[in-house]
């Protein structure tokens, strides 16, 4: 069952480790999703926008959110010619060996090393932050 953001925040407040980050984390996630609810988020983005949260802590927080089904992990296959994402999938095995890229029109071959992992928001998270 999915936790609400408020419940998640309350959990964080009880944790000594994350207590100082909570307000900052909420503001950053809220800003990102208010700008674009389809945003793809990772620890680098969180850490770059915060003076309090480093990348390790940001990743811990994102993984906690994912565990509560407020975020989900997505894999991104970037276009080899730099036109954004050729394909996204939940699991690596869902990617085909070759893809006709709809960003550049060329065919790309799957390369596990190029896959990027990011988090995207559940509807519940987007709605919680709007409330």
């Amino acid at each position: 069952m999915t936790m609400s953001w408020e419940q998640f925040e309350a959990t964080l407040q009880r944790s000594e480790e994350f207590q100082t980050f909570v307000a900052d984390f909420r503001e950053i996630i809220g800003d990102i999703l208010a700008r674009d609810p389809d945003s793809a988020i990772d620890e680098h983005i969180i850490a770059s926008r915060s003076n309090l949260i480093d990348e390790n802590s940001a990743l811990d927080l994102l993984v906690m959110l994912e565990r509560e089904h407020l975020l989900k992990t997505l894999l991104f296959w970037p276009c080899a010619n730099g036109y954004g994402t050729s394909r996204e999938a939940s699991k690596a095995k869902d990617f085909p060996t070759f893809i006709e890229c709809d960003r550049c029109g060329e065919t790309h071959e799957f390369d596990q090393d190029c896959i990027e992992v990011r988090f995207v928001a559940s509807d519940e998270l987007v709605n919680s932050l709007r409330r």
Partner: protein
């Protein structure tokens, strides 16, 4: 896409096609329909107001076999296997309007924007007995790019690139799904100061039966033998009706 210089030109070209090429055989020719035709076919066909010269052939290309390819600490062996597929190239002449289209199959997994040039040259040489396509007037589809971008009802944008006098910019959505790139607050490439020779845009086509087709097009202004041409790459299979609709819509935005 081209315009014929005159109606007389259209009529003489259709006459030359009938004179120099044979009509599509009326009987059942299994090789015509084969996935891998044994020989190259080039026949014309009259479909109402459209005269179609159709080339059907088998093409071959190489792809890497990842299962057979190996890599050790000091040796990399890449195995490529030959693939074959059917390719269909068309010359379509709309007798009533003078619109002339050349449609080339991608016919390879290789880089299409490098393949089109040699394939167009080869096809142009093949149809030369009936039509010297250098005499045609290319339709400047690039003059309609701004108009297409302004159409938010029938189009969808995931990536865009353009330049002004001091910068060139490319902006792409990370997510596949979700909102249109033009909804992103950072998107401004639809402003008048930006120029572009390329437009990568999806067309949402709703048919009479209310079925929706999404057609991905990459439209480009390209140079071919010193002439500016409008090239439209259509990424996926689509019915003739859908392709005709998309091409017609693209043409309707041309301002020159």
């Amino acid at each position: 896409m081209f315009n014929a210089p005159s109606q007389e030109f259209v009529e003489s070209t259709v006459g030359a096609i009938k004179d120099k090429f044979t009509e599509r055989p009326s009987g059942l020719d299994l090789d015509w329909y084969a996935d891998l035709p044994a020989k190259m076919h080039l026949h014309y066909e009259i479909r109402g107001e459209v005269v179609v010269l159709r080339e059907i052939k088998k093409v071959e290309y190489w792809v890497i076999d990842r299962n057979e390819s190996t890599e050790t600490i000091n040796k990399q062996v890449i195995v490529k296997v030959k693939k074959e597929s059917r390719a269909l190239n068309l010359l379509r002449i709309h007798v009533d309007t003078g619109l002339i289209e050349i449609r080339l199959a991608r016919a390879s997994s290789q880089v299409p924007h490098k393949l089109w040039e040699s394939e167009l040259k080869r096809f142009a040489d093949r149809i030369l007995p009936a039509l010297d396509f250098k005499l045609l007037e290319p339709i400047p589809i690039w003059t309609g790019f701004s108009g297409q971008l302004a159409n938010r009802d029938d189009t969808y944008l995931k990536t865009d690139e353009a330049h002004d006098t001091s910068t060139s910019q490319r902006i792409s959505k990370i997510r596949q799904a979700g909102s249109d790139l033009r909804d992103n607050p950072d998107y401004n490439l639809d402003e008048d100061r930006f120029l572009r020779d390329k437009l990568n845009i999806y067309w949402i086509v709703v048919s009479e039966t209310a079925n929706e087709a999404v057609v991905h097009t990459i439209q480009q202004r390209v140079k071919f033998e010193g002439q500016d041409l409008g090239k439209i790459y259509i990424a996926q299979h689509a019915t003739d009706n859908v392709i005709d609709h998309v091409l017609g819509t693209i043409r309707s935005y041309v301002t020159a």
